[in-house]
Symmetry: C2
Subunit: 140 residues, 2 copies
């Protein structure tokens, strides 16, 4: 049973990370419709962009992604350190968004995403929190 549960957990983690990648791919391409397909459209959806206050509810969250896409174009980035943990119908993912600067916009955004598995078996984001990692000589 332990073996089976481990395999199942890994399959869940793979499914979660696949949706997480779909979300970032859609953002990078500036495809709001595809991005919306990776989110749960509910009141409990929450999103904190780097430096922003937290936004509550899918309608406002969607509007914020649209505004970012319209405002500055889609950033390019490489994802690293993607790690997923799954328990029941909820998963959380940490990763680094390593920005590849057009016009000097570089740096790293650390992110924590929460995903929920719907009644249809699909994982969708319910929470995203991204924040810029500040370079420092002493990591403390």
């Amino acid at each position: 049973m332990v073996g089976r549960r481990t395999v199942a957990a890994n399959q869940d983690e793979e499914a979660v990370l696949a949706v997480n990648r779909r979300f970032y791919d859609a953002f990078e391409r500036g495809d709001l419709e595809e991005l919306a397909a990776t989110w749960e459209h509910s009141d409990r959806a929450v999103c904190t962009h780097p430096g922003w206050a937290t936004i509550h509810g899918w309608t406002e969250v969607a509007d914020s992604w649209g505004a970012i896409m319209r405002g500055g174009g889609a950033p390019q980035f490489i994802l690293t350190n993607e790690r997923a943990a799954v328990e029941g119908a909820i998963a959380w993912v940490t990763l680094d968004e390593n920005l590849i600067g057009a016009g000097g916009a570089s740096g790293t955004v650390a992110a924590l995403n929460v995903l929920a598995r719907g009644a249809d078996g699909q994982w969708r984001l319910v929470a995203h929190h991204g924040s810029s990692v500040v370079s420092r000589s002493d990591p403390r």
Copy 2:
């Protein structure tokens, strides 16, 4: 049944928010032992302090809280906009930490916390991500 489930959900949310407050109270008092009691001591524990890279695993997470407490003393803050969502044995909480500056340290930290309910029924933090809210004239 809907009524019952709603009540149960509210009781879960209350329990989650109580642990969330215990965590912040312990941090404010500089009580690392009490803070540790509000966290799950596991490899899946993750923490992102404002401007920091993400820290993985309880040992490293605990060390980071200890370093912050030793480094600058405990910050004082008022929590607002605490909202919890619960699904099964996992909950996520968003809130604002409104810093009351000793020495001019003021401002708001937006936070996303994830909590897991252990086999003993106790909720404990498994993820914390805090980031400073930047004042801006145009929120977009």
